[in-house]
């Protein structure tokens, strides 16, 4: 076959898949809920599906690290080689930005954030995330599940082509052999819960401040925020400007937490909604390029979160005066 006829066969096959998927395998538009769904409680703490996904990401990281370090050798092979190559690339990036001494100090936190964000984002692309869950009744019960039984456990299956009932339509009672309810997924991407990015952002900003204080001293670092040196000397105009600049620094420090949190949360949530909507509109084929996009987004967000932590930490440990002297020297 020539390349051209191969291409034609490929296009026809893709179109065929599109049509079949569109006619027979359309799923319902999933309910989007911003807060994570609660699955149960353990002694007062509610266990949500995002927490389960967080634990799963942690378990994956743990297992990979154990596998990589179980049988360490001077000349790495297999898993050890792969992990070493990735960590070396990360270390080079960190040392390139922060310099060798500071880079090695920042590396554990930056690498941890990077690995956790990327693993939790990529795990969420596996089948089973957001699609397997508990069927729950209630006022949002709009889907009709076919009831079957596997080894004595009742299981509801959403048949292909099932659609959610229209908003405001008359509620039909459940027919025998079916269950009415809504899907509460057991696993949902860890960072689609606002609490997870907030936790990472708080850790990152805490460490940035900690490094700033330990490397410059409490008062020197604090003078970045409350700067009255010029005011005390009697230079009123420049003093007021310095005080104002210090306040701005303080505000931007707090804004960092918000921006860290919402950037990651928004990207992950948007990815989740995008994939759901695309596979509702055009099932099967059209979702694949978007899965690729989500792989890229997960990588970029991990890089951005880790990279910004690194940049802020580097800024915090660089003394303000040194910085200014550098500027003057440059002029």
């Amino acid at each position: 076959m020539t390349t051209k006829s191969k291409a034609i066969v490929g296009v026809v096959f893709v179109l065929f898949l599109l049509v079949i998927g569109f006619i027979f395998f359309r799923g319902p538009l999933p309910e989007v809920s911003l807060p994570a769904e609660k699955l149960g409680t353990i002694s007062g703490f509610s266990i949500t599906n995002t927490i389960l996904a967080t634990w799963l990401s942690m378990a994956v990281l743990l297992v990979v690290s154990i596998l990589a370090t179980r049988n360490m050798q001077m000349v790495p092979k297999g898993v050890q080689n792969l992990v070493e190559a990735m960590l070396e690339a990360l270390l080079n990036f960190v040392e390139g930005v922060a310099g060798e001494k500071n880079g090695r100090k920042f590396f554990p936190l930056v690498a941890t954030i990077f690995l956790f964000v990327i693993v939790s984002a990529w795990l969420a692309l596996f089948p089973g995330f957001s699609t397997i869950g508990l069927v729950e009744g209630g006022e949002h019960a709009k889907l009709t599940f076919q009831e079957t039984e596997v080894a004595g456990v009742p299981i509801g299956i959403l048949p292909p082509g099932a659609q959610a009932e229209e908003e405001g339509a008359e509620a039909h009672p459940a027919e025998p052999g079916t269950i009415k309810g809504m899907l509460v997924p057991i696993l949902r991407s860890a960072n689609t819960d606002l609490n997870t990015p907030l936790a990472i952002a708080l850790i990152a900003v805490f460490f940035v401040e900690y490094w700033g204080i330990t490397s410059q001293g409490f008062f020197k670092y604090g003078s970045k925020f409350i700067n009255i040196r010029q005011l005390v000397r009697g230079n009123v105009v420049m003093g007021l400007v310095d005080v104002f600049v210090g306040l701005m620094e303080l505000v931007s420090e707090i804004a960092r937490i918000i921006s860290f949190t919402f950037r990651l949360f928004g990207n992950m949530m948007a990815g989740e909604v995008l994939l759901a909507v695309i596979s509702f509109l055009v099932p099967w084929v059209a979702a694949i390029p978007f899965l690729g996009l989500e792989l890229f987004v997960g990588f970029v967000q991990a890089l951005v979160f880790g990279g910004l932590t690194l940049v802020f930490a580097t800024m915090a440990v660089t003394s303000h005066d040194e910085h200014e002297e550098g500027h003057e020297a440059a002029h």
């Binding site: 989007v32 809920s33 911003l34 921006s259 919402f262 950037r263 949360f265 928004g266 990207n267 949530m269 948007a270 909604v273 970029v300 967000q301 890089l303 951005v304 990279g307 910004l308």
Partner: protein, 75 residues
């Protein structure tokens, strides 16, 4: 108008208007990065890394609009 309708319009407007700024910003960033690449192709790695970081900053603003739109629509 019904409150529900206003909510939908507000969500659409929040996302649509909120996407203008980041869109322009990312366009400028990408264009300038290409210019820089044309002038100095050896600096590809540095330019790319910095471009992605800067785009993430611009994109964050669009994401804020998205979060507002999502809250309007679903909460």
């Amino acid at each position: 108008m019904e409150p529900e309708a206003i909510k939908l319009i507000a969500a659409g407007l929040a996302m649509g208007l909120g996407a203008i700024g980041p869109g322009i910003g990312i366009g400028i960033l990408g264009g300038r990065a290409m210019e820089a690449l044309g002038r100095n192709p050896e600096a590809r790695g540095v330019i790319q890394a910095n471009m992605i970081l800067a785009i993430a900053f611009a994109e964050a603003i669009g994401i804020y609009a998205l979060v507002v739109a999502l809250i309007l629509k679903f909460v």
